[in-house]
Symmetry: C2
Subunit: 251 residues, 2 copies
């Protein structure tokens, strides 16, 4: 049975302000919550139907508060049109700054400059996870990674990828690896070798990469246009460039 206070708490986590204040966020759906149970993330509370509880009971630690509800009750707290058996309230992980510094030196890192759409951010996290890119840095004006739509769109990948919010300019000032930027009039992607280590900057859906970030780009990449579309979605552009890098590294 869900108390009114609990319903209010879960609803409030739809807002970024409340999420930051309580350092909690919501994960929904059978598949994502099943993955959560085996992850390092701390679940503070599970709201689930009897059907789910019967199936996952043996996997639920005693430390987790479990509230069994009817499907109608679940609907009351869910943000999904068709809730899938379970909702988890999860503690936000605390990022370790040292990992980021090391990743910026030794790995391939995505930097997102003003990505606004929660679905796009979620898709980009899923793409990073496909291509083995484990660090993403978002500018402060990007949408929140703990937005329920973002979490949903990651399809579980948010558990494997570290997402940071930071000042991109400050970080780029220190970077010594190649800095790739997806732009409209750069060099063809097909003529550029993307290195194993480096940074890929993806700009805002409408405005692209900000003027203040442009000077840091060492390789201006353009996905050659064959037809007539005006642009590609930010997630699609990210995927194509990450795939080009994976292709080059596979040789």
């Amino acid at each position: 049975m869900l108390s009114k206070a609990r319903i209010k708490l879960i609803h409030s986590l739809a807002l970024k302000k409340k999420r930051s204040e309580l350092t909690l966020f919501v994960v929904e759906g059978k598949k994502q919550v099943a993955e959560l149970l085996t992850s390092n993330l701390e679940i503070t509370c599970l709201v689930a139907t009897q059907q789910w509880v019967d199936e996952y009971n043996h996997q639920i630690s005693n430390h987790i508060e479990l509230i069994t509800v009817s499907e109608d009750e679940l609907k009351k707290v869910s943000q999904q049109q068709a809730p899938q058996q379970v909702l988890a309230v999860v503690k936000m992980p605390e990022p370790d700054t040292n990992t980021l510094q090391s990743a910026l030196k030794n790995e391939f890192v995505l930097m997102l400059d003003g990505i606004q759409d929660p679905g796009n951010l979620g898709t980009i996290i899923r793409i990073a996870d496909w291509y083995g890119i484990t660090h993403i840095v978002c500018s402060h004006d990007c949408v929140d990674v703990f937005n329920p739509k973002t979490i949903q769109a990651t399809m579980g990948s948010f558990m494997r990828i570290s997402v940071w919010y930071d000042n991109l300019q400050t970080l780029l000032n220190e970077v010594e690896t190649p800095v790739y930027g997806a732009v409209m009039n750069g060099t063809s992607l097909y003529q550029t070798q993307i290195e194993k280590q480096g940074i890929l900057i993806i700009g805002n859906e409408g405005k692209g990469i900000s003027d203040s970030i442009m000077p840091f780009i060492t390789h201006h990449l353009t996905i050659p246009l064959v037809g007539q579309a005006e642009s590609l979605n930010a997630g699609i552009a990210t995927a194509i460039i990450c795939d080009a890098r994976a292709r080059a590294l596979s040789n």
Copy 2:
């Protein structure tokens, strides 16, 4: 001023049944409607704010009924959270079967097998338009191309791409060009040369390509996984494969 009957009509076009019955659909937003005005599609009615009318007045043919409304009135008929000045009711184009037959022989055609998400279909249309692929065939159980969310996600590309609904098996029976399918355990995309002419089959978001379609595939393509994500979104997979073809053709 919008009559009650008109409001009812526009609302009803959110439903596929009504759209098919009336052979009408809705296009929203300043940018898409501006493109519509210069396209061959027949606009039956424009619902627009005074601001939009002032800007586009000289481009509106006398044959089009124009209803000037307040922003609040526009909100009443719009499906958008933040309507952008204008909404058009548009006549569905009549597809020409001869074009499809010729495209299946001489061009590169996308076949979508059970794509359910309207946003995914819209994104795939936009990707096709980027890569100069002008024909898409959908299985009968795909989402409707005239779904408002699909139209919105195409970002105008629906005006340049012909989308057909047909029995994929029947069509594939006649095809003589290579048939590529995006699958989980096929040959690496990086080891396959995608030809200029052919068919690319993209399966349902959850279930992939149907068993009845599988035997027609001559080239089983897999985008190599580097990290740990379980799958890639259907739109992302389409984009990566279309890009691989464009890359090969650019050499």
